[in-house]
């Protein structure tokens, strides 16, 4: 793992080949163009050096050469742009069935939590052949999640979720770096991604390392501890003081100002920490701010719990069209929490029914 001299990085994700192909195309193009410019400069400089007797008669020329050069370079540039954009869409559009992992970054540490609650620090285990989607937030300054072998990178921001996904192809250990300068020990905010075959990964997941509580379960406890249920009642109850949280995730929420907002993770996070920012239509702004009272992990747990509140109905509605909306494996099974470990193992073999 990066202890030996290399001139080209390991390639261990489905994206690597796509990025490398584009990169190598650009390298070849650049070498040709640089050689052309250098060759032309040297040829002209030597041929027209003062000592050489050559025809130097002044010729008045138009700008035809330049316009031709522009006409040739424009479509090439647009071609590169389109190719680059296609690769980028691949890099940033996570497949529906990606395995969710949450990441909290802080000076100078990476904290991971798997869907079954298993936590890791500075090391992340993932299986091959399974898209993985990381939902990330920073506790302090901006960091950046960068695994060169996967050819992808995403800044990790405080106050807002960002996400990155990848599908590993080769088992092995790959370097994880923080790519955004984050203070004194920036260069020590490194870790590794351990890519295992699905079998090894399943074994690791069921290993005897003490497993933590699933995030949705922790979230449910937090929900009770903060007595959120006092106002956020089930949908069929009358007279609740706050909007119901059932089926909230990924729905469109009407706001007091007349706009609507997509209830994604970032919206849920903001509404927990700073509820006054986006006031839901038809409700008084009476919810207190929870900023500084719930850790970033706690917020992620609450969101995991809120997702389960919508799950049974959402699963039923979408069942005929698509396979499980598996942003949260716990959400797939109405029978909830205990099933998650098996569920993740199933998904890693790619057969979510």
């Amino acid at each position: 793992m990066n202890t030996e001299f290399q001139i080209f990085p390991d390639a261990a994700s489905t994206a690597a080949g796509k990025v490398d192909a584009l990169y190598l195309f650009m390298v070849v193009l650049s070498v040709i163009l640089s050689a052309f410019v250098a060759g032309l400069v040297l040829y002209l400089a030597v041929r027209y050096r003062r000592a050489n007797k050559v025809n130097r008669a002044h010729v008045d020329h138009g700008n035809t050469i330049e316009y031709v050069a522009m006409a040739i370079s424009f479509p090439i540039l647009m071609g590169i742009f389109i190719w680059g954009a296609k690769v980028c869409f691949f890099l940033f559009r996570a497949p529906e069935h990606a395995m969710p992992i949450t990441v909290v970054a802080k000076q100078w540490m990476w904290k991971f939590q798997h869907a079954d609650g298993r936590r890791e620090i500075d090391t992340l285990h993932i299986p091959t052949g399974q898209p993985v989607k990381l939902t990330m937030v920073s506790q302090d300054v901006i960091h950046s999640f960068f695994v060169p072998a996967f050819r992808t990178k995403q800044d990790v921001l405080p106050g807002r979720y960002t996400s990155v996904w990848f599908e590993a192809t080769e088992p092995g250990e790959y370097r994880l770096y923080c790519a955004e300068y984050c203070g004194t020990n920036h260069s020590r905010m490194v870790g590794k991604v351990v890519v295992q075959s699905p079998d090894d990964f399943a074994r690791w997941m069921s290993g005897d390392a003490a497993s933590d509580e699933p995030p949705a379960e922790t979230g449910r406890k937090l929900f009770e501890q903060f007595q959120c249920g006092t106002c956020h009642r089930p949908a069929n109850e009358e007279g609740a003081r706050g909007p119901t949280l059932e089926n909230l995730f990924q729905s469109r929420v009407p706001l007091a100002g007349g706009q609507t907002v997509a209830a994604d993770e970032t919206y849920l996070r903001e509404s927990i920490l700073r509820p006054a920012q986006k006031q839901v239509a038809g409700y008084q702004q009476i919810m207190p701010t929870y900023e500084g009272q719930i850790s970033e992990e706690g917020v992620m747990h609450l969101i995991a719990y809120i997702k389960t509140l919508g799950a049974p109905l959402a699963a039923k509605r979408e069942e005929p069209k698509t396979p499980a909306p598996a942003t949260e494996p716990a959400a797939v099974e109405p029978t909830a929490a205990p099933a998650t470990k098996d569920n993740a193992a199933n998904e890693s073999e790619g057969n979510a029914p």
């Binding site: 650049s30 400089a45 050559v54 002044h58 540039l77 680059g84 890099l91 901006i142």
Partner: protein, 548 residues
Amino acid sequence: MTGEIASTTAFPNPEREPKNYLNAAWTVRSWLLTVDHKRIGLLYLAGISFFFFLGGAAAVLFRLELMTPHADLVEAETYNKLFTLHGIIMIFFFLVPGIPGVLGNFLLPIMIGARDMAFPKLNLMSWYLFMIGGTFTIYVTIAGGVDTGWTFYTPYSSTYSNTYVMATAVGIFITGFSSILTGLNFIVTVHKMRCPGMTWFRLPLFVWANYATALIMVLGTPVLAITILLVALERGLKIGIFDPRLGGDPVLFQHLFWFYSHPAVYIMVLPAMGVISELVAAFSRNRIFGYKLVAFASLAIAVLGFLVWGHHMFVSGQSLYAGMVFSVLSMLIAIPSAIKVFNWTLTLWRGEVTFSTPMLYSIGFLGLFTIGGLTGLFLATLGIDVHVHDTYFVVAHFHYVMVGGTVMAYLGGIHYWWPKMTGRMYPEGWARFSAVLVFVGFNLTFFPQFILGYLGMPRRYHVYDEGFQVLNVMSSAGASILGIAYLFPITYLIWSLKYGPKAPANPWNAVGLEWMTSSPPPTENFTETPVVDFEAYEYHRNPAGAHG
């Protein structure tokens, strides 16, 4: 040499040596309160050279640290302060004010046949603001440094860093006004001070380039000032603007910062392009191929430069569609730059090429700027940038543009106009040797960094993986060569002030108004106001055989 006998007398005969801007007065006061654009140019030269070597010393130190993957020479905190100092000094106190401050101030009025800038006193004030800003930076360096990186990303800079962020910010804020005033002066001077016959399309391309630069300085720098002020407000008064804990948005800072700092790349490189136009024309004895397109390319770069800032933020959480817009615009800005490289190259065609030092720097510039520009396309390409963003690939790319481009042009320009500025010739042999050494040292320093970047080595890393060491050692070795190569010019140029042969008015047999006055020029530049009845770079009317 008719006055040979008179020179033996102990008292210089004022009648013998014609009055010029250098010997017009000798007092310190006559320098510190001068309103002569040429003297102000030399004041800038002194200030900028000092900062260049200070910034360079920081680079030498951290390149030594990077010889090994472990922390040995300096601690992490010191390392972070060194690269921050290097970035801040080189950008705000060398690259941005460098060519406009030294060569622009000295040459712009002469090239358009004017006596001075439109606002000579404002011009002096620019220099004082620059020096006051610089004093803050020196204070920060001595007091304990700053560790935010030159980019000052929030909320690290506004909330978390425990170093001298405020003093640094004040220094840059003040220096920004120096830049704005210089830009203002250039614009008004070019519009109002041209001598009779000096039409827009007879202007040397150096003037066009500095004019385009001045537009960016005036329009862009206030945004930097505002951004710094907002960081100071958040840091000092806890007003939430960028830190989410105070209700701010950290990415907003990046938008504001790059809205200035990407155009600032063109503040740094456009004047260099102007210098190269002069140098290539003079040493090919040829009119710049496609003069008008080169002039318009400068303006196109200045305008497009304001529309591409988001390519610094492809992985910042910015929307993918915004990324696409910035990607396509960044591709487009390659076209005017490519046109310029193409036209400089074709200027050699049917020219009469000589390989004096300024020409060696120009040829070096063409090669290095081409590589810098092409690797810029890699970064504008979304799919590649995601991987190489914030790695050594980016470091290598912008050094190819900034050092391979701007510094090469600056050094070439200093050599070319040195006889005009000082009245002395520099030693050609040493100068050619240093030019070659700079080229070799530069490539050895920065080319391996492209490879390191694609391998995935992040920038601003104090310790790194062992697999990266070989390339880092190459880079550090190159940096030592480069450091030594920069010591040669400062030595022999100072030496030449006393021992260099006296320069004639036109040592290169070049065309252009600056070569039609004495070396060094009189305080009023021309004994009588010139009248221009010739085009720029009319070398074909003045063929090689005809000079003498």
